[in-house]
């Protein structure tokens, strides 16, 4: 099986789908000839032409709305927000047009929106956000966030095949830092959680880049056996996997790179507090970015985003609880 970076895996997933399914379109700002701000779509314009890999005007609402229109007449558009942050400009089309269409009219909207998200490289307040939770709180949208190269490809393919609008959060900081074996072909990775490391004493729940921070932070906490759950999908949320792990370990730390309030981790913690209360041997601990914009200057950014040492400390405290 070929080794690929997370970024190459996304590219590969797009390419496989463009090759196999003529209904698939790629569209967004600078995704065509230039190959995308992060070069995820590099080469696709040459291979598939300007009609299938479309450079659009700078207009996020129109990109999403146009994708919806193409989807309901049979296409499978994959659109890119240049940075996840800019989805705020297309927010209405996503939550009101795409998200509510099937419930209201039985009309499926098979679009995929790729959202390069996350911080850690001095992107500042407008190029570092993790806005997943906004869309978890908007019915009708699926929300997924792979952590590994293989999942990046498999879940992108799953998103493209899905008859619903899927928001695909690809973490920019993983693009070139994470590598792994990626199966060829068009196999879907199901939108279910994955046990990134098995353990007995404590569960750490994360997704996206935080899975790696969680693994790093818990590699060796005085020999404790720490289970790390990679959620992979936020909508649907794999509640069974979460509850099963908590039932086993009785202690849980939930990590968010996003701002803490009403984040994905708040939902996970609330779920556990309601449905796993009897299993718990300690508080449901959260480690998240405080409610501030992501600062540009490296020492500030580091202080805001959850670092491995902060996660480790939270785990250690809970283990000792």
């Amino acid at each position: 099986m070929p080794e690929m970076t997370y970024l190459q895996a996304i590219h590969d997933g797009l390419r496989e789908e463009l090759l196999a399914d003529e209904r698939v379109l790629v569209m967004g700002e600078d995704v065509g000839r230039f190959g995308g701000a992060f070069k995820v779509t590099d080469g696709l314009w040459d291979e598939f032409g300007a009609e299938r890999v479309i450079d659009t005007p700078l207009a996020e609402a129109a990109i999403i709305g146009t994708a919806v229109g193409a989807a309901v007449v049979g296409m499978r558009p994959v659109c890119e927000m240049q940075f996840a942050d800019f989805v705020a400009c297309g927010f209405d089309q996503l939550v009101n047009v795409a998200g509510k269409m099937h419930y209201r009219q039985g009309l499926a909207v098979p679009i995929t929106v790729r959202l390069p998200s996350g911080g850690g490289f001095g992107g500042g307040p407008f190029h570092s956000q993790n806005p997943e939770a906004w869309f978890m709180h908007a019915p009708g949208l699926k929300v997924v966030a792979p952590a590994t190269a293989a999942d990046a490809k498999g879940m992108l393919i799953g998103a493209i095949h899905d008859p619903n609008p899927v928001l695909f959060f690809e973490h920019k900081h993983l693009y070139r830092r994470v590598k792994g074996e990626v199966p060829p072909g068009r196999e879907e990775t199901p939108f279910r959680a994955r046990v990134a490391r098995e353990g007995r004493d404590l569960t750490v729940i994360a997704y996206g880049a935080m899975v790696w921070s969680a693994l790093e932070a818990t590699e060796d906490i005085d020999g404790a056996s720490v289970e790390v759950i990679d959620l992979r999908s936020l909508v649907p949320l794999d509640e069974e996997a979460i509850l099963a792990s908590v039932a086993k370990t009785s202690k849980v730390v939930v990590i968010d790179e996003a701002n803490a309030t009403c984040a994905a981790g708040a939902q996970v913690a609330a779920l556990i507090a309601e449905r796993a209360f009897e299993d718990l041997d300690g508080p449901v601990v959260r480690v998240a970015t405080p409610d501030a914009p992501i600062a540009f200057s490296p020492p500030l950014e580091r202080a805001l985003l959850p670092q491995a040492d902060r996660i480790e400390e939270a785990c250690r405290e809970l283990l000792e609880y």
Binding site: A61, G65, A67, N96, H102
Partner: protein, 356 residues
Amino acid sequence: MATTASGPITAGIDGASVTSELLTREDRVQLLRYMLLMRGVEERALNLYRQGKVPGSFYDGFGQEAISAGAAFAMAAEDRLCVLHRDLAAHLVRGVAPGRVLAQYMGRTSGLTDGRDGNVHFGDRRLGCVGMVSMLPDMMPVANGMALAFKLRGERRCALTWLGDGASSRGDFHEAMNWAGVSRLPVIFVLENNQYAYSTPTELQFAVDPIARAASYGVHGETVDGNDAEAVFAAAFEARARALDGGGPTLIEAVTMRMHGHAAHDDMRYVPAELVEHWRARDPVELQERRVIELGADAQELRADVTSELDAAVDWALEQPMPDPGSAARGVFCEGAAEPLGDGMAPFSGYTREAL
């Protein structure tokens, strides 16, 4: 009086000659029929609303029937429409039965959304229609997307949507107009300039009538008499031909007047009486009726037919049950395969003739 109301209305094409060429007498009667149906359904629905049988707010398109009837009548079965809140006739032209509309308004099963959405927010996907969302004019980019797909696939089809004068102020208007121009999309936007957006007159909405913007997007623009169904038909028909021939998008401004309040609760006290009077004399249904009577059609019989169709529709709709509360949270996601929009009815004889 609002600027556009007093300004001259120039039909971009010579309505009379085009329509006499294209529309048969039967077509012209059909246009009247759809307008009568629209008016009748909305009258019945307003009664049901007053009886407390229609929940929520009640919007209608009284006085604007010519625009949805005329534009939808110009569309072929394989075209696709996003239908707005004053465009009931478009649903009827595409083949939605009046009874289903009434059931829809009352939130019953056998409506078009199984009670999930309200009176104007619907479309029959099997008939090639996407129902609007409330956020205006969000369907413009959606229509673009349909048109983009047609163009990419080399299909001779177009997409059409309506919007209001007020909606033209929102960003989505601009993003859609711009992209339609850049990509020369086979799309038609019908701007229903009915002088008001809720209580807001056009002079607070824009300094210059938005039809003036069309050219600066590379979009063909023209203004028609929105109370003349045949003029609207002709403009839409020509726009469709342009779209299919690679001539790109069209913005049609159909000038009309909203003759009811924004919704049933609104007494539209803010509208000058003269303005209403001016437009009452130009009622689109009466205009078309005079026309077909001149052509020798029996308008009285038509009215009688429509009335009995509507009587039956009301009875049928009232028999439909309310949806099962247990189903309320179902259907948020599509569980099976995604089915694209289907073809609608295209009653214009030009399409039937072609098909034969």
